[in-house]
Symmetry: C2
Subunit: 254 residues, 2 copies
DNA sequence: CGAGGGTTTGAAGTGCATCAAATAGTGTGG
DNA sequence: CCACACTATTTGATGCACTTCAAACCCTCG
């Protein structure tokens, strides 16, 4: 693990990273500076375990680059992936409302740069600064929303549709025509993230390839027609593409 | 729909209902009184739709008694049940962080008494009273926690284990030996709530009956040995029974 | 080149869904 | 109180999706 204590230059860079994160928007510079002072940067490579379920939480994390897997495991070793997060994402902060224990484990899955921030300071400013709780609420409800969608998908969609949805979320916003992108991490992990086995992922991806105009070459995926894929995928979902947006006003049938 | 404008007596009863809800704990009496003033009580019977996905949200609800299904549906009519809530539960409040639109539909599934509260007032007091955002955060993270568990279960557990978990949650806290309880709503709905078909529910319940000491008579279920059922069910889960509690401190393996 | 992880493919099994029909349960009007 | 209609639940038979186990393939990297 490489840790650097905040020199002046890294402190400034931490502050700018915090400013880019909606959780901290509207906070006074003094508070940001205080966070930066007590933070440390962290570079971790694939395989590094940041914390495990049930551990006492002293730090929460902001991802600068790379990918981190959030997961739980049962006694028999079965693993359930909660989420896989990257730049701009925050994790571990929920512990302060859950008896100061992490409620999932976190493992780096692609070399990652992080900022670790003390939960004590978060608690302090939640109390002191009225903007911070509101930011955190937005954040919590946004996450709740995406978890709700996750539950819906697990309940109602088949493997190939879930993969389609995953690919669509990787597309740059507003994509219409052809897009080429690289899968951000192992196919095995994507499979776990989507709640299926690697073999199923492989086969379902092949089906998706034949059902929509998709080209696959290792980790590189070319979507010939984004709208067509969206049609195929999102017809199975309560949200319409692009699903990050708010639900539309609907006229009641009742 | 039976609506009553808040007379003095109902206003007092609304205030006491609000006081029992953790979201409102620590709020000054004036604020509670203000909420009560602008609220209305509602009695709705089975089948009543309170609101639908995408509608503009003006009210959020506190359940006094009965059961309400929160769900979404896709274009082809498939329904995904998000949750089924009862006394003391709050729903619809998340809309104020989601463009003022409900992000799910709500339908009464057992005759229900509710208090409807204006979202505008919630927003007002979130801004005005520093305690309310903190309460709402606790609430949001607790819900996130249970949704995470839901995702874990959908990913890793078989139908009979999910039913076992459902039954355990219905047991009074601290139950050890035999418990008899009534299923709170239709088996068909329990099935949907657990992400399975009624037929599967029926068969998986029969399996559970033969695997653990369970007696079933219509809606009445007798668990001969709660610990045994917990053993059977919770061995498949990252949490140990009773799973409402905080995760235990765990010594790292890494 | 060879080792080792990630990925694909094949064959067989399991769990859940689906379709269809029987049964049990509930509320209604006579 | 009974017959009927209607709904909830169970049961059976069959099919499909996903998993499991096993082996092959591929790719990277020492």
């Amino acid at each position: 693990m490489m840790t650097s204590s905040p020199s002046n230059s890294t402190k400034a860079s931490v502050i700018s990273a915090l400013k880019a994160c909606s959780l901290f928007s509207g906070l006074p510079d003094a508070a940001l500076s205080h966070f930066a002072e007590k933070s440390h940067r962290l570079e971790a490579e694939k395989g590094k375990v940041l914390f495990i379920y049930g551990e006492e939480a002293q730090w929460f994390y902001l991802v600068c680059s790379g990918w981190v897997k959030l997961f739980r495991e049962t006694i028999d070793g079965t693993e359930a992936v909660i989420d896989v997060v990257s730049d701009g994402s925050l994790f571990g902060e929920s512990a302060i409302f859950l008896h100061d224990r992490y409620s999932y484990s976190a493992e780096v899955v692609e070399d990652t740069r992080l900022i670790a921030l003390p939960t004590s300071l978060l608690r302090y400013y939640l109390d002191k600064n009225p903007q911070l709780p509101m930011n955190m609420l937005s954040h919590a409800f946004a996450r709740q929303e995406s978890q709700t969608l996750e539950i819906e998908h697990l309940n109602t969609q088949k493997a190939s549709h879930r993969i389609g949805c995953f690919l669509l979320r990787l597309c740059p916003k507003g994509s219409q025509e052809a897009v080429t992108l690289n899968l951000p991490y192992d196919k095995t992990l994507i499979a776990a993230r989507l709640g299926m086995k690697p073999e199923t992922f492989s086969r379902a991806l092949a089906k998706l390839k034949s059902d929509t105009q998709l080209q696959i070459n290792g980790a590189s995926v070319t979507i010939a027609n984004v709208s067509q894929l969206a049609e195929y995928t999102c017809s199975q979902c309560s949200s319409s593409f692009p699903c990050e947006e708010a639900p539309q006003q609907i006229t009641s049938n009742y």
